[in-house]
Amino acid sequence: MLATTGLGIIRGERAVFTDIDLAVEPGEAVVLRGPNGAGKSTLLRILAGLLSPTVGRVTWDGAAIADDREAHGRRLRYAGHGDALKLALTAFDNLAFWARFEGTPVEAVDDALDRLGLGALGMLPAGVMSAGQKRRLGLARLALAPRPLWLLDEPTVSLDAASVDLLAGMIWDHRAAGGMVVVATHDGLSLPNARTFVLEKAA
């Protein structure tokens, strides 16, 4: 279980947010909302261990994630603004690299591509894909192997309606299997039974 206590962060000599207490249980989805600049991306990076909070701490089953960042890394999947693709490699090779890097069997790659409707594009270099196709290829990592915590920063950007539904379905399956999701979004990614957590604009 992921929890934060009294989280606050100062960036550029201004408090982005203070005193965030957030707990995510298995099977739960939290949707981060708030105006631009409220700190949604910042919070997700803190939860991923990519950024250290100025005050407060993030814990997993009671243990601070800062004590063992690598173990924390192995239980989460983070999808940020970048798609983490090498444009010179094919879709398949891009995904296969991430599979090998995390020790997942490469066989999972074909399924993951199919899952995101990219089966036919496997041998296309990522460089010629459209914005939404690239985004889907980036999200295909989620389907490689199960990990308990998904942290998604505006995952629906550039996706068409069909792909948004696909993603919603993947999140649903993930939660059904006991996974947790924290997702920042502005638009209508509708997740049933999701808890909304609103970040206000700091003063």
């Binding site: 094919t90 036919a120 496997g122 041998m123």
Partner: protein
């Protein structure tokens, strides 16, 4: 025998003359063979593709 030996000796410059010719022919034959091979490969791929137009997954990258 002698004629061949003197010919091969190239007036004492065998070490310069023969490598020159060898390199020239190596480069030219190499380029020619590589070009032929690229041509053959392209032709084969084209045939394959035209035969199997409606085939499921075309993955030339893997075959190569």
């Amino acid at each position: 025998m002698d004629a061949v030996a003197t010919f091969l000796a190239m007036g004492g410059y065998a070490g310069f003359v023969w490598p020159s010719f060898a390199l020239t022919f190596a480069v030219m034959i190499g380029l020619a063979v590589a070009s032929r091979r690229a041509l053959r490969k392209a032709q084969r791929q084209l045939e394959l593709l035209e035969q199997s137009r409606p085939a499921r997954r075309a993955r030339p990258g893997k075959a190569a």
